[in-house]
Structures are given as C-alpha cells and as structure tokens.
C-alpha cells in the first residue's frame, strides 16, 4: 500500500482537542454543582480571614495587607487543588473503574494524546478556578485590576504542573486509598509552606531549600509578581523551573501510564 492511501485520521491538535472536549462536556454537564465551589470556597476563606484572623495580623506581610497576601496565594492554590484531584482520583476512576480510557484508546488516538489532553484539561480547570478567585478578590477590591487579569494564566500553568505530578503519582497507585498519602504528605504541606500563608523567608533556614524544590513556591512567586505588576528578571528562573517540571514529570507520567494503558 502506498502512503497516499493513509487514512485521514484526525491531526494531532484535533486529537488533543477531542480529549479536552470530552472532559469539558462531562464537567459542564453538572455546571451548577461543579461551578459553585470555586467561587464559594475563596469567599469562605476570605471571610474567615477578614472577619477573624486578619484582625490579629496587623503588620503587613510581603509588603501588603494580610488579606491581600493570602488572597493572591489562593489564586494558584485553588488551581493546584482542582488539578491534583482531577488527575489523581479522577484519572484513577476513569482508568480502573469506569474504563473510559479503554474506549477512548480504541478511537484514533495514542496514549500520549490522551495524557497530554488530560493535562491540558487540568490546566483549563486551573485557569477557571483561578479566574473564580480573581472575581471574588476583585469584587471585594482586595486586588487591583487590570494587572490581576493575567493571574488565571499562572493558574493554567499551575494546573498543568500538578496534572503532570498527579498523573505520575497515579501511575504508581494500586488502590484509590493510596492517594491519601499524596494529599496529606505533599499537597497539604505545600499549601502551608510554599509562601501562600506566610513568606518562605520566614521558614527555618534548613527547610528553605525544600520549599524551593516544590513547584507551588514558584507558582506563588509568579502570581504575586503578576498581581502587583512587578516583574523581576529572577522570575525567569521560576518560569523555567515550571516549564522544566512539566516536561520532565509529564514525560515520566506518560511513560509510566503507557505501560498501564497499553499492555
């Protein structure tokens, strides 16, 4: 057979889009129950801080009011949480319980397409969740627009970062309960010690290098810069870290999940 007869299977961007579209349709099917939490959660958080905790923290943190300090951090932690859940529990359920991937892989797409589509979807969710927090922060005049409008793009990157990490974790997981180790052991500590709740500079000196190793620290630094429109060249290192992390961890995740999906 000659090459001219190769069937016109969908090109790469369509294959990635079709995976993304599948997730989008399933997610938006329950728009109300899925769309509410990202708006309500930051409200609860900020109300808790504004009404209570904030009164005790009178000194500015990182040069801004505490509510602003924490609020800006939430722009990326929300992306982290949604992406981590999507690509751990969500992926595992699709993989082992619903067998959704088995069906998808019988259609013209490769495992690579499937996983990259998954990561792009998690990034999109990160973008959307970040945007939701931005709406709340802007509504209460906690941050100043228009600079903050770029924050959801950092949310997107954060989503992709935690998609690749969570997919790698998922590739090791045998039963769904194992994810507890991931969330308690890695995601929760990141929330508290990556410069969201207080600056990493306040961490003990021997722990600081650890904070620099985890990805959320770099996301937080980027989003803070975006919100105050202050771009230090050193931020390029944070961006570089994030891109390298996505490529390296994403590659490993695809490599390991491939063994599980195509046996």
């Amino acid at each position: 057979m000659t090459d001219s007869k190769v069937p016109k299977y969908p090109p790469l961007h369509i294959r990635l889009y079709s995976v993304w579209y599948r997730h989008m349709r399933v997610y938006t099917k329950n728009l109300l129950s899925n769309g509410f939490p990202p708006f309500v959660e930051p409200l609860i958080f900020l109300a808790g801080v504004g009404l209570g905790l904030g009164k005790y923290i009178t000194e500015p943190m990182g040069g801004v009011r505490y509510i602003e300090y924490l609020g800006v951090g939430l722009l990326v932690t929300t992306a982290m949480f949604t992406s981590a859940f999507e690509c751990s529990f969500g992926t595992f359920i699709r993989l082992e319980f619903e067998k959704v991937y088995d069906g998808m892989l019988a259609a013209p797409m490769t495992v690579n397409n499937l996983i990259v589509g998954e990561m792009l979807w998690a990034g999109t969710k990160g973008f959307f969740f970040s945007f939701a927090v931005l709406c709340i922060l802007a509504a209460f005049k906690i941050i100043i627009l228009p600079y903050g409008l770029f924050a959801p793009f950092v949310g997107f990157l954060t989503g992709v970062v935690f998609a690749s990490l969570s997919l790698l974790v998922t590739s090791f997981v045998k039963t769904i309960n194992h994810f507890n180790f991931y969330f308690t052991g890695l995601i929760s500590p990141m929330f508290f010690f990556s410069g969201v709740v207080f600056p990493v500079e306040n961490l003990p000196v021997f722990i600081r290098p650890v904070a620099e190793l985890v990805p959320l620290t770099h996301s937080v630094r980027l989003v803070r810069a975006v919100c105050i429109n202050n771009y230090d060249p050193i931020l390029l290192l944070d961006l570089l870290y994030i891109v390298a992390f996505i490529i390296l961890i994403g590659f490993l995740a695809i490599h390991r999940l491939k063994k599980r999906l195509v046996n």
Binding site: M1, K5, V6, P7, K8, Y9, P10, I14, R15, Y17, S18, Y21, R22, R25, V26, K29, N30, E98, K99, V100, D102, G103, M104, L105, A106, A107, P108, M109, T110, V262, N263
Partner: protein
C-alpha cells in the same frame, strides 16, 4: 441456513460510507484484508498468545472461539493497538495494509471496537455519549448528528436519545456501545463477546444487525464462547486454547472433519451395564465422563440399534452433534488454571 437480508442502509449512508472509507471504495469479494503471521504475547510467565497466524477475507465474519483465558481478547487487542505484541523478527501483521506497531492511528481510524465492558460515560445521555466519540473521529457536527440519528434508529434506540445511561437496560447499553463503534462507518468491526449476558431477544437483534453490516462489506472479527453465536454469524472460525490455535475452518467443515455426525447421550450412567462402557464396534466411539456417557457415530441407525439392544426408551437421547461437541472435544472438558 442464512436467510435473505434486505438492504437497510439509506442512500446517504452508503454515499457517506464511500466517502469515509478512504481508498477502499470497492472491495473485491475474496481479498484478504487481515494477514497475521506468527504473533505472540506474554504477560510475565503467562503466554497469552503463542505463534498465532490467521487471515481474514474482506466482508467476512471471522470468529474466535475459546474458553476464558484462551487469548481471544489479547489477540483482538493486539490488532487494534491496545496491546503490543512480543518483539519477534519473523512475525508480520497486515491489517488493511497497516501494522499496528507502526500505524496504530490508521488502524484505529478504520476500525470500530466493542470491548467486553460497556464503558459508557454515565454523566452524559445517550446522544451525548455518541457525540463525544464523533469528535474523536473529527466528524463535522452536522454529519455526526445525522449519523447518530441513523444509528439510534438502526439499533432501535431512538426514543432513548435523551435518556441517562443509568436508565438503560443491559441490552440497550450493549446496542449503544455497538452503535458507538459504528460512528465512523468502520471497514473493520471488532466485537469482543458482544452478547454475553444478554437475553435471547437482544441477542438475536444484535446478530441480525451484524449480518446486515456484513452485507455492506464490513469485515467482522468476533470473540465468543457461545457456539450458537459462532455458528449463526461466522463464516470462518478459529478455536483457541491456552494461547494457541488448535483448529480453524468453516463451521460446517469443523463439524464434518472433527466429530461424528450423531451422539447418543445417557445422563443416568448407572443404567449402563459394565460391558457397554467399552464398545469394540469400530463405528462407535465412546466417551465416558463423570455423569454423562456418550456414544458417537456417523450412522444414526447404529446408535439406534445399540440403544434398542441395551437401554429402555426415555433413558437416553440421540441428537446431531454440534459445534459445542467439537469445542469440548478440542479443548477438553476439564477446567484449566486460566478459566
């Protein structure tokens, strides 16, 4: 006997089919479209498929028979790229001109696959489930809608279009999964145990639809362990056992070549006198299994005479042998560790 099947496809569909089927507008009746030679697959120490070879003619229904764990599903998965075969320099695979190790996407685009499990999206309704898959095949929205209407009608699911998946019966889910596999008008339809666990009405409906697809030159690969299904649908059968091909041929040939035409079965083995357990007659073969005694012969009168001589009427049954007899003869009556 096969009965005559009326053409069911609309003119538009046939036109679309020609449009979709890239490069194969006319398929000659006897062309082989699948050529598999000497493929193997191991999972650790388990040799799931061993040196399997077969070829499939265009527009035919090719059936894989075998007990659970025989390697049927693995063979299917190797074909559509869900499973990678063991590296072996002298094996070859040609599926519509492509090797799944090199051109997975081309094969997937030409094929429709119905897996053992109904992996539908519970969150979405019937039509949405199909719509999602139309995107995987990059079908334009309007074309996809028409095709979905057509397929829902074809499988008698039109009034379930907006239903949730949870509201569907097992038979409806199965028909929907088959409809999904047909979205892109595949040249090759792969059915992995399509009717397992379904009631006779649905099973016959599905058989009928598969025959109609065959009339449209769709090549069908099917695994089953229902002999009736194999006999009803398949033009050609391959019996697998423990990863190996043990016999192949047309269903009637398999019967003729591998087993006597008639069998006398006695369920109450206590009524058989010891001298009748071993028969020296050359035209009768005995098979003594716990609980059932069987006498096989090509001549029904020989069996009748034998029964009349030593058995009371009502204690035995004489019938034509069928595929199940061949199957059990070939694969053994004992369970093995893979079942």
């Amino acid at each position: 006997m096969r009965h005559v099947v009326h053409p069911v496809y609309s003119k538009e569909f046939i036109q679309n089919k020609v449009k979709f089927s890239v490069g194969y507008d006319i398929v000659s009746a006897m062309a082989t479209v699948i050529n598999i030679n000497n493929i193997s697959k191991s999972f650790g120490k388990v040799r799931a498929v061993q040196n399997l070879s077969f070829s499939v003619e265009a527009g035919s229904c090719f059936g894989f028979l075998g007990p659970n764990g025989a390697g049927k599903t693995t063979a299917m998965k190797i074909i559509y790229g869900k499973c990678s075969r063991d590296k072996n320099s002298d094996d070859t695979m040609d599926i519509f001109g492509y090797d799944p190790a090199e051109n997975e996407l081309a094969i997937k685009y030409l094929s429709g696959v119905v897996q053992q499990e109904n992996n539908l999206d519970d969150e979405l309704n019937v039509a949405q489930n199909l719509m999602i898959y139309s995107k995987f095949y990059n079908m334009p929205v309007r074309e996809a809608r028409e095709r979905i209407e057509y397929l829902l009608d074809f499988f008698e699911l039109s009034d379930k279009k907006k239903s949730k998946i949870k509201e569907l019966s097992g038979g409806m889910k199965r028909r929907l999964v088959i409809a999904r596999a047909l979205l892109n008008s595949p040249r090759l339809l792969i059915l992995d145990e399509p009717t397992t666990g379904l009631d006779p009405q649905v099973r016959h409906l599905i058989w009928e639809k598969i025959r109609q697809l065959q009339k449209q030159q769709t090549t069908v690969l099917l695994t089953t362990h229902y002999m009736e299904e194999a006999f009803q649908l398949c033009d050609y059968l391959l019996i697998m056992h423990k990863g190996k091909k043990i016999m192949e041929g047309k269903p009637t040939e398999l019967l003729e070549k591998n087993i006597e035409e008639y069998v006398l079965e006695i369920l109450d083995t206590e009524i058989i006198k010891p001298e009748h357990r071993e028969i020296s007659q050359s035209n009768i073969r005995t098979e003594d299994t716990p609980g059932v005694m069987r006498y096989y012969s090509d001549d029904i009168d020989v069996l009748k005479d034998f029964a009349a001589g030593c058995l009371e009427s009502g204690n035995y049954m004489i019938r034509q042998t069928n595929l199940e007899d061949v199957f059990l003869h070939a694969t053994g009556r004992q369970l093995d560790d893979r079942q």
